[in-house]
């Protein structure tokens, strides 16, 4: 049977999306999820159960760091910020992603 990915989120895409939305500035966890949801015209929803473990993995890899900040509701919360390593990673992931989509497009167009 064909397994449909949840809410259309392609597997492995989440780190790339997080890196991308953090490129323009640091965000807290909720804002990351919101931004992805909004920017995808509400097609993609980020589950909390995936978001936080993924963020932790990115912290381990050193792609992002977390700093204290004040949220719009005036609450102390951690903001995630891209590191130079994270930027390099984003570049690499984008390049890889583009290559793959291009390849898939080619097949879809010609086959």
């Amino acid at each position: 049977m064909f397994n449909r990915p949840k809410e259309g989120m392609p597997p492995g895409a989440l780190p790339m999306l997080i890196l991308r939305v953090l490129q323009s500035g640091s965000l807290h966890g909720y804002a990351i999820a919101q931004r992805i949801h909004v920017l995808s015209s509400e097609v993609l929803a980020v589950e909390e159960g995936l978001l936080y473990p993924t963020l932790q993995k990115m912290l381990v890899k050193g792609w992002v760091t977390a700093d204290w900040g004040i949220s719009e509701t005036n609450r102390k919360v951690r903001f995630y910020r891209l590191t130079p390593q994270g930027r390099a990673q984003l570049k690499a992931e984008l390049a890889g992603y583009n290559r793959i989509t291009q390849a898939i497009q080619d097949i879809l167009r010609t086959a």
């Binding site: 807290h28 966890g29 909720y30 999820a33 589950e47 909390e48 159960g49 936080y52 473990p53 963020l55 932790q56 993995k57 912290l59 381990v60 890899k61 050193g62 977390a66 949220s71 509701t73 609450r75 102390k76 919360v77 951690r78």
Partner: protein, 837 residues
């Protein structure tokens, strides 16, 4: 690298970081609620998943397992202590054996650059000696570029200081000996080539710390004092420190410069004689030169010597180098012994481990309930297996810690008992600790793996693992008992069997005429005078001369092949009366006539090996260096190879050119000491320069028997420990399996079964493991003891008595261990047993 660092820093800040994550999620939940979503997931689970990203879950589990394991072990202290002690015995035996090996062969001497020190010895395809002639040494020293220094050691018999009654051990060394070692003296100075290198320099002596303490009451002002050594004045120049480390583990009390050898021993030609091998040679490799390269260069130099002094070098001779910076210069056969000891000690570990394994299996049944609960609340088999392995490793570590302390104690005693060099310390070094850890892990796998597997799979009641453990235990203790049985037999053989010669009331007198430069005629006249004067003493029965003194330091051996068998022939050169003096029976033919040439007398085994039952008289000896006609056959007497029953002897008549090297043997009915005193004064009156070395043969013989007795005592002790361990294990197993079958027993008793039959039924399950264990153990022992042959003093390694004794003891212990708990169990109260269950 950065990632690892982040992971580690997480580990140290995990409490704070975890709280921060929780706050992040809390905020997320609040915001989502504002947006009208209330379906935030299980945050505890999410946090756990997030934590896993950092990769420290294993540590948490390990800590959990350790905590749990510690609780379990503390809850049954009796079991824990018992297991730890059994393991400690097994581990300490291994650690001690390894520590000794480490001290001898692995630890480097505390000297300057021990890695570049090599021991150089003469070798040829069929000959070898550890000593070389001084001129050869000097030639190598002066010509080898691969060696940055060459060190000579010349051992001499113990010698008299002033008018002491007891002689003191002494050694000549080249003057660079101490400067090459790089150790500073405790007081005074050590030898220096500039000061002590020439025969003309003032005779100097260095005292050992021990001698300085004992004889000179630790008085520092002894430096500069003149003492008489062998009646010659020497000036004390220095004292070695307490922890002085010397080459080759030799620690004489007196160190003398080798240039003074002709001064101490009048007229000695040892330093000029190309044919007298007496120097032990050590060398320091030049920087960057490998031992192989040095050997190459020395081989060329050996060929050079051959050109100049043809007699001084064997055919195909070369110089063999071995690492010299250790206490013991290891020879291949020593590695064999080490391997043998290693196998035996591992067997003890095996017995200890199987024992503990049996206990754990039995405990597994009592823990059935606990395991059931853990599985019911969601633990998987892997997790339980891991938990059990953690427990095993904890037990093993406990055993290892106790074992290391135990082995420290054993080594402390052993080092003082063996009079080991003082720089050796019983404190374990990193190699010993690493080894202990290895043994600990090995033990944990050995005893813990099978039970853990069985328990985790909830197959506690299967008996097959227990039976295999029992068989292994019986086999291992069987091997140990047989080996100790054989060694005990060897000791007994030494003590109570006629060695083939008489040693009671016989003394050997070695005047070292050759070292004093005696000519053939001068030696003959000295020996004749000594013999006639000694013969006039009351009680003296027989006097004769022999070249290689009985049980002496010097042994000659010829390795050859006869009828396809490798044999070892021990030749000796004797005067006609030798067989009478040593009480060796002449079985066939006759003894020599004085100075008879081209004739040989051989031992009984030799004759038997070559000619079978036929009469060898008048035949020519095949395949031997010195061909001669057999004129007589005498009894076997392995005088110079007591421990080797395969030794064969060949005797030749002493010729006049042998005279300077001859040793006098005297048999009397009186006290050996009386003969000794008389001989000393006779020698003094003939030539006061001589200092004859005298030994009652009985003392030498007892020294050798003492050694074998000690070895067999140690091995027997180890064997007994192993058997007791095995016995305890069997008691436990039987008692346990009886307790499992109480109800069945009660029913069978109630139905009228006899106790005998019940007992048999109980024990039947143990018969095949025990039988196969005995069989495997005996086979293994028979195979392994071949390597032991040289130490058995003529007892066969398949000696039936040794095997029978060992097996009887073992079977008896097994029977008692099995019957005791079974009998106790059968005294049960049938009604109660049936009610109870």
């Amino acid at each position: 690298m950065g990632e690892l660092w982040r992971r580690i820093s997480y580990l140290f800040n995990r409490r704070r970081l975890d709280a921060e994550l929780e706050s992040d999620m809390e905020f997320h939940r609040e915001m989502a609620a504002r947006a009208g979503r209330n379906n935030f997931g299980n945050s505890l689970r999410m946090r756990e998943q997030s934590r896993e990203a950092w990769g420290w879950t294993w540590l948490d589990r390990l800590l959990q397992d350790l905590q749990y394991g510690a609780r379990i072990l503390v809850r049954s202290p009796g079991f824990t202590i018992m297991v730890a002690l059994v393991l400690a015995i097994g581990i300490s035996v291994n650690v001690s054996a390894f520590s000794l090996f480490n001290m001898m062969a692995l630890k480097t001497l505390p000297i300057r650059d021990p890695g570049s020190i090599v021991r150089l010895e003469r070798r040829a395809p069929n000959a070898s000696t550890s000593e070389m002639a001084y001129p050869s040494f000097a030639f190598y020293r002066d010509h080898a570029h691969a060696l940055s220094a060459a060190i000579a050691v010349l051992g001499i018999p113990p010698i008299q200081i002033d008018d002491d009654l007891q002689n003191t051990s002494a050694s000549f060394v080249s003057p660079n000996y101490f400067s090459e070692l790089g150790t500073p003296p405790l007081y005074g100075r050590f030898f220096e080539p500039a000061l002590d290198g020439s025969p003309a320099s003032q005779p100097a002596v260095i005292l050992s710390y021990g001698l300085w303490q004992r004889r000179f009451s630790a008085d520092p002002s002894v430096v500069g004092r003149v003492i008489r050594i062998g009646r010659k004045p020497f000036t004390v120049v220095g004292i070695t420190p307490y922890t002085f480390a010397s080459l080759g583990g030799q620690h004489p009390d007196l160190w003398l410069p080798i240039a003074q050898q002709p001064y101490l021993i009048d007229n000695s030609k040892v330093l000029a004689d190309w044919n007298s091998s007496s120097i032990r040679m050590w060398a320091r490799l030049a920087p960057g030169v490998s031992a192989k390269a040095a050997e190459q260069e020395l081989r060329a130099l050996t060929d050079e010597i051959r050109k100049q002094h043809h007699d001084a070098v064997w055919d195909d001779e070369f110089i063999h180098s071995s690492p010299g910076g250790h206490l013991q210069v290891m020879q291949p056969e020593m590695y064999q012994v080490a391997l043998m000891v290693g196998i035996l000690t591992l067997l003890i570990l095996a017995v200890a481990c199987t024992n503990v394994g049996g206990l754990l299996l039995a405990r597994g049944i009592t823990r059935e309930h606990e395991m059931g609960i853990r599985i019911a609340i969601g633990a998987n088999r892997k997790r339980i297996f891991r938990q059990l392995c953690t427990e095993s490793i904890m037990l093993a570590s406990l055993g290892a810690v106790i074992g290391i302390f135990l082995s420290y104690a054993i080594l402390r005693v052993a080092l003082t008992q063996l009079d080991a060099p003082k720089w050796l310390s019983p404190v374990p070094d990193w190699r010993v600790l690493l080894f202990s850890m290895g043994v600990m892990l090995l033990a944990a796998i050995f005893f813990g793996f099978a039970p853990a597997l069985q328990i985790a799979r909830q197959r506690q009641r299967k008996t097959i693992a227990r039976q295999i453990l029992l068989a292994a235990q019986v086999a291992a203790s069987c091997v140990l008992l047989i080996v100790s049985g054989l060694l005990a037999r060897a000791a007994q053989h030494m003590l109570f069997t006629d060695p083939g010669f008489g040693y009671e009331n016989t003394i050997s007198i070695n005047p070292y005429l050759d070292q004093h430069g005696y000519s053939e005629t001068a030696a003959k006249s000295y020996l004749d005078q000594m013999q006639s004067r000694l013969a006039a003493l009351p009680g003296v029965h027989s006097i004769s001369l022999v070249r290689l003194p009985p049980m002496g330091h010097i042994v000659s051996r010829e390795d050859t092949e006869i009828n396809g068998r490798k044999i070892k022939i021990y030749p000796n050169w004797v005067t006609p009366g030798y067989f009478q003096t040593m009480q060796i029976p002449v079985l066939l033919g006759r003894t020599f006539q004085s100075g008879e040439k081209h004739s040989v007398i051989i031992s009984r085994s030799y004759a038997h090996l070559v000619w079978g039952g036929k009469n060898p008289i008048g035949q020519r000896v095949p395949n031997s260096d010195s061909k001669g006609i057999v004129i007589g056959v005498v009894g076997d007497a392995h005088i110079n190879a007591l421990n080797d029953d395969d030794a064969l002897e060949a005797y030749y008549a002493a010729q006049s050119d042998n005279m300077p090297g001859m040793v006098i043997v005297v048999r009397s009915s009186g006290l050996p000491s009386a003969v000794e005193t008389a001989a000393r004064s006779f020698s003094e009156s003939i030539d006061p320069k001589l200092l004859p070395e005298m030994h009652p043969l009985k003392d030498l013989y007892q020294d050798i028997t003492l050694q074998i007795e000690q070895i067999s005592a140690v091995v027997s002790l180890i064997g007994i420990v192993a058997v007791l361990l095995a016995g305890i294990g069997i008691v436990g197993l039987v008692a346990f399996s009886v307790s499992q079958r109480t109800k069945e027993m009660a029913i069978r008793l109630a139905l009228g079964a006899t106790k005998r039959r019940l007992c048999a039924a109980l024990l039947r399950q143990f018969t095949w493991p025990i039988l196969s264990g005995l069989l495997a153990g005996t086979a293994l022992a028979a195979f392994a003891s071949r390597f032991l042959r040289v130490a058995l003093f003529g007892v066969s390694n398949l000696d039936p008595l040794g095997y029978a004794a060992a097996l009887t003891v073992l079977i008896a212990i097994i029977a008692v261990a099995g019957l005791l708990p079974a009998r106790r169990a059968l005294r049960l109260d049938v009604a109660r047993a049936l009610h109870y269950q």
